[in-house]
Every structure is written in structure tokens, then in C-alpha cells.
């Protein structure tokens, strides 16, 4: 042996401990951990056959170039045309952009009476210190109403595509393949410990971003995304068994319905009173206070709920097709 130190002596050194820590074989809480390599993916015989048959079908019948002259010609033309199309689109856009007024000039057409009023009297008229929030949730609230429904309908489309329904049976082939609960709980200590610290912080930060949307940078869209990210982290750390206690398909349904209905009702009131020149009873409050700027706070909360639900639902659907 050409070792300078004996095995026992080496185990005492800092470099050995560093090595252990890097390899993950030593854990401060669990002590020495025996590392097991992950089980390789094993395909069953039937699914392998099916996959092979599908592949052959695609190559031999769908893309049968020998007997399908149309496809053969199409494939050749397709490459040429796609390049030509892209180049011409780029050229058209560049010519268009080169003719636009230069960026950031005070005399540009976009600097007209519209942004002027937004900036100068936005604070008095909407009560929101954050002008952008005042614009999207008060001046142009109808657009944002549509935008939050875009999120809702996007989730519904993902539900159509990916939700595995109980009718087909929990034990059907499809649901078993998509369901990765069998690997849970992972009980990854690093993830769980850090999640325990981070998730409350992330969610509280998200709530702060939503609630202060009218006072500073932030709002429903960004805050909702933060909360959604927190929920996804929690799910990854603790598994579906824990999240199902407070977030199921039913929760999502009622949450998004409540938020969107609230938005629609609140805004209908203000559209109706606005169009019919009726005085709105909603006070604007003192700008800068948390309870100010009329409906904006409520709308921000609604948007935040919808966005958080959407983020979480997307993740859950893409992962296993059910809550």
C-alpha cells in the first residue's frame, strides 16, 4: 500500500468529510446514508411491442414516401418554403421597424394625451400609487377581465387534454403510467427542510406582492405566480398526500369560480355605474394606505387567486393528470 495515511486516520480528515458531504453519503441528520442508484426504467413486454408497432406504422404507412408522391414533393418544397417564409417575414418586419419613430423620443406619437392623463391624474382618479396597476385594473379593466379568463380557459383546455378521469378507472393502464404517486413520499430531507423554511416565506411574499399591488411594483399576476411556485415546491417536497388535504380539484373549481365571479360582479358594477353616469359608492381612500384605490385591491386578490390556481393546476396536470 502506497497510502500515506491509514484508512482510520483518513476518515478523520476534513477532505474525507468534504468528500462524503459532496457525495451525499453522509447526512447531518440521518448520519451515514447508503446511496442506492435509482432503479432503471423497465418496459413491459406489451408496451414495448405497442411502441414498436406504432413506430413502424408511422414510418411505413403515414410517412410512406415511396408510394406517396404528394408527400415526397411536399417534404422537399416544405424545407425550401419554410426558409423563404422565415427570411421574408424577417425582412418585412425589419423594414417595418426601420420606418418606426426612433425609440424614446419625446415627440413620438405614443407620447400623447393618453399617457399624459395616466401619469398626471392617475393617482387622483384611481387612487393607486402604482400607475401600471391603476391602468390595467381601473382605466382598462375590461381588457384585464378578458385576460384573467384567458388563464382560466387555458387551464380548462389543459384539463381536457390531460385530466385522467375516475370513470376510466384508477387502475387503467393510462392512469397507472401517468400516476407517479408510487414513488412518493420521496422524503428527501434536504428538499423537505428547505421547503419548510422557504414555502411560508414564498407564500407570504406572494401575498405581500398581491396586497401591495396598488402601492408598489407587483399585483395579482406576479404575486399569484409567486404563490403558485410556492405551492409547487411544497408539493414536490411533501407529495400529493399532503397537498390533497387543502388543495383538490374541487378547491380549484370553487376558488377560480369565486375569484372570477367576484371580478366580473365587481367590475360589472363599476362598468354599469360608469356608463350610466351613476355615482359609484366605492371610496378611493387615501392613496398609499393599504385599503385604498377602490376596487383595485379586490381585483388584484381575485387575479392572484386565479393565477396561483392556474400555475399549480398546470404543474399537477402535466405531472400526473389529477390533483
Amino acid at each position: 500500500m502506497s497510502r500515506k495515511k491509514s484508512e482510520q486516520e483518513y476518515e478523520q480528515t476534513l477532505s474525507f468529510r468534504l468528500r462524503q458531504w459532496l457525495d451525499g453519503t453522509k447526512d447531518p441528520f440521518l448520519d451515514t446514508v447508503e446511496m442506492k442508484p435509482q432503479r432503471p426504467y423497465q418496459e413491459t413486454h406489451e408496451s414495448a411491442l405497442q411502441r414498436k408497432a406504432e413506430k413502424e406504422r408511422v414510418i411505413e404507412t403515414v410517412f410512406d414516401e415511396e408510394h406517396n408522391a404528394e408527400l415526397r414533393i411536399f417534404k422537399k418544397i416544405y424545407r425550401v418554403f419554410s426558409v423563404i417564409f422565415c427570411i421574408s417575414l424577417v425582412l418585412v418586419l425589419l423594414t417595418g421597424v426601420s420606418g418606426l419613430p426612433p425609440f424614446g423620443q419625446a415627440s413620438n406619437p405614443v407620447n400623447n394625451e393618453v399617457p399624459e392623463r395616466y401619469i398626471e391624474s392617475g393617482l387622483q382618479e384611481t387612487g393607486a400609487v402604482n400607475i401600471v396597476t391603476g391602468m390595467i385594473l381601473d382605466y382598462r379593466a375590461f381588457d384585464t377581465l378578458g385576460e384573467s379568463h384567458v388563464l382560466f380557459i387555458a387551464t380548462c383546455t389543459v384539463l381536457i387534454l390531460l385530466r385522467i378521469d375516475k370513470k376510466k378507472g384508477r387502475n387503467s393502464m393510462e392512469s397507472l403510467q401517468a400516476d407517479d404517486r408510487s414513488h412518493e413520499p420521496k422524503n428527501d430531507v434536504i428538499l423537505q427542510t428547505s421547503a419548510r423554511f422557504l414555502v411560508p416565506l414564498i407564500v407570504i411574499f406572494g401575498i405581500y406582492v398581491i396586497l401591495c399591488g396598488h402601492l408598489g411594483p407587483g399585483g395579482g399576476f406576479s404575486g399569484g405566480a409567486v404563490i403558485g411556485a410556492g405551492l409547487i415546491l411544497y408539493l414536490n417536497a411533501f407529495g400529493f398526500a399532503r397537498t390533497e388535504r387543502f388543495f383538490t380539484a374541487k378547491t380549484y373549481k370553487w376558488m377560480s369560480f369565486g375569484a372570477l365571479a367576484c371580478y366580473a360582479l365587481a367590475k360589472s358594477y363599476s362598468f354599469y355605474t360608469g356608463a350610466n353616469e351613476i355615482h359609484s359608492v366605492i371610496p378611493l381612500g387615501t392613496p398609499g394606505a393599504i385599503l385604498s384605490s377602490g376596487l383595485i385591491l379586490l381585483l388584484n386578490i381575485c387575479v392572484g387567486i386565479v393565477v396561483a390556481g392556474t400555475m399549480y393546476t398546470f404543474y399537477v396536470m402535466f405531472r400526473k393528470g389529477g390533483y
Partner: protein
């Protein structure tokens, strides 16, 4: 302000609200909510139509406490109200006509998602019709795109997923171009409100400023919306999407979704840019050429198709070509012909889809051309409905299609340079239409051989088994004949509507 004037806004909010509402209901209740909402919105739009006809001028409805360039607004005139009423009627009939298929083809637990899609689709169509703001239009174009995609793929088989993917890719390309066009336009005018844009566009056009960006913006918006409404070279997504999705989806997509985009394009032409500037820019000539190519090639593709549903889908390509040809003529008469064709094609195409589903029901669910032999005897009402639809598509007098072809021909007389190609295309396309539609009509009325009948064991469909579909088909036939026989008041409405539209 009269209470009636609130109705367009209430319609949009009501249909938006009914979307999330359907998500918490079960499928039976969601269906009733859907039918009720469409009916209520149709009724409200009739009231609005009466109101605008009475006052004789369009009015602006402010969405909120801030007036136009700062806040949002919608603008209601005769043309908008007519379109909204027709869209509601056709959507209602398509939903009723396809209810059996929905029950059979969709997963039961996902059926209420279907109603969410339809409700939000209706709200987006209404918003596209009524909005006076380009950015609002874009937001609702997004809703329209996503919900149309959901409508295609909710019947889950390989073909619909492929169709939906293609639709998504093409449609997003179109949306992107529309958005870029709006950005360009905003950059040179500084406004998103349609009437304000037009004011500034006229100003900069007269001094010759920003010619290039204006042309690029116009081109991008036209091409984007043309892609979304399946103008000829961009129709690759269409046959799968219409041919394999469930019947009510196919009917709604072909008759409403693509028409909503065309209506938006007409709005952009006449209200945002100004029709004379569009005509000077020669963008209309490009649309005219593609429209004519589409009229011919769509019919040729339809003749080559042996699947009846896909054949009807290809016929849509040809009909969209007609509409763009009318727009491309660059005259008011051409636009009116296009608008009438939007209505008449919507009424006819949804009739054809529903009738074809009735025929395939009676032929063991086969959509193959030869399997439909004698289907007109097995499902009598569907046979009659299909015949009426085909006659209307070909342009036989007394049907809706005849009037629109007549209007196209009259309109082309005014556009001197385009007269000859337009008339030739109309004639050729009519003959081609007749080839494939009459071929199918003859096929469904050719008696099937006895031994084949015995072998295949068809189940003849009776009216009592499919009351909903029969009602829908009868209403569609009536609508077609109404449009064909009593077209004058509708054309007059469109004319007066177009005057107060710009």
C-alpha cells in the same frame, strides 16, 4: 341613456360569467345554463337591434368611469347587432343539433368543460363584434383561439389531437402577426382606440409620413387574420379540425369562429385604417387573388375527398375564399356581399354538418362516401336537410347561397379590373361545388342493394329518437329558406349597418 343600451355589455359579462359557473356545475346543469345563456343573449341582442334601427345611429358605450382613449369602450350599430343575433341563433342551433353526439363522444366527466369553452367562445365573439378597441379585440382573440382548440380536441382521438395541434400552431402564428400589427399601428399612431387610430392614420397618410410601417402593420394584420380564418394557402389545419371533431364543434368552428376573425378584419379595414387607404395600399388585391385561388382549390380538394365530413370541411375553404374575394373587390358592394355570405355560409355550413351527422348515424357511423349510399332513405329529415344545404351551397335560387352569389356577381360589376376574374372564378367554383355536392346528394338517394343492406344491418334513424337534432335541422332549413327568399330586408340592414359602421 336607455336601459336597452346596456345589453351588449350585459351580454358579454353574462357569457363570461357563465364560463366559470359551468365549471362548478355538473354536465346536465351546465348544458341548461349554456342553452339559457345563448337564448338570453340572442333575445337581448334582438332588443339592441330594434333599438339601433329605431334611433338610426350607432352609439358608444363606455366601459367604466373613464371615457374613450383612456378607458375601454364598445360601439354598437346595426351591423354589430345583426351579426350578434345571427351568431347566437347559429350557435344555439348547433349546440342543440349536436347534443346527442356530445353525449356519445365526449367523456361524461369532461362534458361540462365543453360548455365552458362554448360560453367563453360566445363571449369572445360578442366582444370581437362590439369592441371599439384594438387591444381588447386582441385579448378576446386569445380566448377565441384557446376555446376553439379545446372544442376540437375534447373528442379525444388521434386525428383531433393532430388537428388541434395544427390549429394551435397556425392560429398562434396568426395571433402573433395580429399582435405585431397592432404594435406597429400603436407605434405610429399612439392610440389603441379604433376611431382615434383612424383619425391619426388619415393625418399621417395625407402628409405621407410612416408609409412603410403602416403598410407592414396592415399586411401583418390581414395575413394574421387570414391565417386564423383559413384562407386558402393557410388551410392545412382545417380538414382534420372540422372533419373529426364532434358535430357541434365542427358547426361552431366553421360557421362562427372563422367568421369572427373575418368580421374583425372588416372592422380593421373600415374603422381602424379606413377603407380608401386599404384600397390604395393594394392589400385588397392580394386578398382578392388568394380568395379566388381558394375558391377553386378548396372545391378541387373537396372533390378529391372521400370522407363526407372532410369534404364539407374543404368546402369551407372555398367559401372562405368567396368572402375574401368579396373583400378584395374593394367596393362597398363587395363588403356587403361578403357580410351576407358570412351569414348565409354560417347558416348553410352548420346545417350541412348537422345533416351529415344524421346521415352517418344511419350508416353505422361511417363517414365514407360509399357507405352513405341510400342514407337519405334511412334518415329522411337529414337527407332533406343535406339536400337543402347542398342546393344552397351550389347557389340554386330560393336558397341562401344563391343570394350571396348574386350579390358577389353584382359587386364585381362595379370593380372594373376585377370583373372578369371574379365572374370566371364564381362560375368555375359553382360548377365545382355542384360536382361534389350533387354527387353526394345523388349518392344518398341511390337505393342500396338488398344484400348490402342485409349485411350491414343499418339502423334507420327516426325523428322521435333524435328530437333535438330534428328541431335543429328544421330550424336551419327554415333559416336557409328565409335568407334565400326574404333577403332584401337583411341586405338593407347590412347596408345601413355598414354606413354607420365606419
Amino acid at each position: 341613456m336607455e336601459f336597452v343600451q346596456n345589453f351588449p355589455f350585459i351580454c358579454i359579462i353574462l357569457s363570461l360569467f357563465s364560463g366559470p359557473l359551468s365549471s362548478i356545475l355538473d354536465r346536465k346543469k351546465a348544458k341548461w345554463v349554456n342553452i339559457t345563456v345563448i337564448t338570453a343573449i340572442g333575445a337581448m341582442n334582438v332588443a339592441v337591434l330594434q333599438f339601433v334601427i329605431r334611433t338610426g345611429e350607432a352609439y358608444v358605450y363606455r366601459m367604466g368611469h373613464f371615457s374613450a382613449p383612456w378607458g375601454n369602450e364598445i360601439r354598437v350599430g346595426v351591423l354589430e347587432a345583426v351579426m350578434a343575433v345571427f351568431f347566437c341563433v347559429i350557435m344555439l342551433l348547433s349546440m342543440i343539433g349536436g347534443s346527442l353526439e356530445r353525449e356519445r363522444e365526449l367523456e361524461p366527466s369532461k362534458e361540462n368543460l365543453y360548455y365552458i369553452m362554448v360560453n367563453l367562445l360566445l363571449s369572445s365573439l360578442l366582444a370581437l363584434i362590439y369592441t371599439n378597441d384594438l387591444f381588447t379585440a386582441y385579448v378576446f382573440v386569445e380566448i377565441n383561439t384557446i376555446s376553439a382548440c379545446g372544442l376540437i380536441m375534447i373528442k379525444q382521438n388521434g386525428r383531433t389531437i393532430v388537428g388541434a395541434t395544427r390549429y394551435m400552431i397556425m392560429s398562434l402564428l396568426g395571433s402573433g402577426m395580429l399582435l405585431l400589427g397592432i404594435c406597429f399601428l400603436y407605434g405610429i399612431t399612439g392610440h389603441l382606440l379604433m376611431s382615434n387610430i383612424q383619425e391619426i392614420v388619415r393625418k399621417i397618410y395625407s402628409v405621407g409620413q410612416y408609409r412603410m410601417p403602416l403598410l407592414v402593420a396592415l399586411g401583418l394584420m390581414s395575413v394574421g387574420l387570414a391565417i386564423k380564418s383559413a384562407l386558402y394557402p393557410f388551410h392545412g389545419w382545417l380538414p382534420d379540425a372540422y372533419g373529426y371533431s364532434t358535430v357541434s364543434s365542427a358547426a361552431i368552428l366553421s360557421s362562427l369562429v372563422s367568421k369572427g376573425y373575418i368580421f374583425l378584419l372588416i372592422k380593421i379595414f373600415s374603422r381602424v385604417i379606413g377603407f380608401d387607404i386599404v384600397r390604395d395600399s393594394r392589400v385588397v388585391n392580394v386578398l382578392f387573388v388568394f380568395g379566388i385561388v381558394g375558391m377553386i382549390m378548396g372545391s378541387v380538394d373537396a372533390i378529391r375527398e372521400s370522407n363526407v365530413r372532410r369534404m364539407i370541411a374543404y368546402s369551407s375553404v372555398a367559401q372562405i375564399g368567396y368572402i375574401y374575394m368579396g373583400l378584395g373587390l374593394g367596393t362597398t358592394a363587395g363588403v356587403i356581399a361578403s357580410l351576407f355570405h358570412i351569414i348565409s355560409h354560417a347558416a348553410t355550413k352548420s346545417l350541412l354538418f348537422v345533416a351529415a351527422s344524421g346521415l352517418t348515424d344511419a350508416s353505422n357511423d361511417s363517414t365514407d362516401f360509399f357507405d352513405l349510399t341510400g342514407a337519405g332513405y334511412r334518415n329522411k329529415l337529414a337527407g332533406v336537410a343535406f339536400t337543402v344545404g347542398s342546393l344552397s351551397m351550389v347557389g340554386i335560387p330560393a336558397c341562401a347561397g344563391f343570394i350571396s352569389k348574386l350579390l358577389f356577381a353584382q359587386a364585381s360589376v362595379e370593380a372594373v379590373h376585377k370583373l372578369l376574374p371574379a365572374l370566371i372564378a364564381l362560375a368555375v367554383s359553382t360548377v365545382l361545388n355542384a360536382v361534389y355536392f350533387m354527387k353526394t346528394v345523388i349518392r344518398i338517394y341511390t337505393p342500396e342493394k338488398k344484400e348490402v343492406l342485409a349485411a350491414k344491418q343499418f339502423t334507420p334513424a327516426h325523428m322521435s329518437d333524435q328530437k333535438a337534432k330534428s328541431v335543429a335541422m328544421i330550424c336551419f332549413i327554415a333559416l336557409n329558406l328565409l335568407l334565400g327568399l326574404k333577403s332584401e330586408p337583411i341586405v338593407e340592414l347590412l347596408q345601413s349597418g355598414l354606413q354607420m359602421f365606419a
